[in-house]
Symmetry: C2
Subunit: 143 residues, 2 copies
């Protein structure tokens, strides 16, 4: 599996919505405007916003004057939820199968897998301490 830019794009989009005060259908932001702020392609943005909508973080509406808006206050959207929304993980790799025959050697892959999962969870836990609102603060208090 290859690297994906979905998480940074999602985080940027949510921060942009928060910055623009898009918290209701009347203030929806179009994928074209979000894409211009990256900058990237509107379709790329819609692919991500569709996932964020499925995760319940935003709502979207088609049609003239449509677009996306936040369903929650920016201070209540932890980045771990954003990562999960786009099916992200740390991508540290997948353990090799492990050769059959050696009783000890066969267990190495699952131990490596457990270590990767632990790292994955640690990253998610750290991201949970950062919210979309934090992405807009001018001071670098979040590190």
């Amino acid at each position: 599996m290859s690297d994906s830019q979905k998480f940074p794009v999602a985080a940027h989009a949510l921060a942009y919505l928060a910055h623009k005060g898009a918290t209701a259908p009347e203030h929806a932001i179009s994928s074209a405007e979000l894409a211009a702020s990256m900058p990237t392609n509107p379709v790329v943005v819609r692919r991500v916003t569709a996932m964020l909508a499925r995760a319940g973080l935003i709502d979207t509406r088609a049609g003239a004057g449509g677009g996306a808006w936040l369903k929650l206050p920016p201070s209540e959207i932890g980045l771990d939820r954003v990562l999960r929304a786009v099916h992200g993980c740390t991508h540290l790799g997948v353990p090799p199968p492990g050769a059959a025959g050696c009783p000890v050697g066969e267990r190495i892959p699952e131990a490596v897998s457990a270590a990767i999962s632990a790292a994955d969870q640690a990253a998610a836990t750290r991201l949970s301490t950062i919210t979309v609102a934090d992405l807009l603060s001018t001071d670098p208090e979040k590190l």
Copy 2:
């Protein structure tokens, strides 16, 4: 950038060396044997062991009876060092450049970048609590 299997391969190789008691040149394990335990290609293993050697975790020797052996006790090799040795990271993505013009929007990418770095560091810190020796323990006390 695509996913890399370097970290799992490195972790597996180190655990295999520890399991085989390869702690001195006389007990060197060849890349062919390591590759067979994955299983993968010997060249893939050598690419990784070369990085581990540069990081000072193992030593290697060419020639008949050559191969790789550990330079440190397995209990002193934290997996964060292994990850750094293979130049690994969480691969959460790279923030988009951010469109020029909006003074607030321009700062979003660096905020996202800081969040990704924080997640990266959290993952490394978690991996530092797991050693190569832990990968061989039969009980799943590491999670």
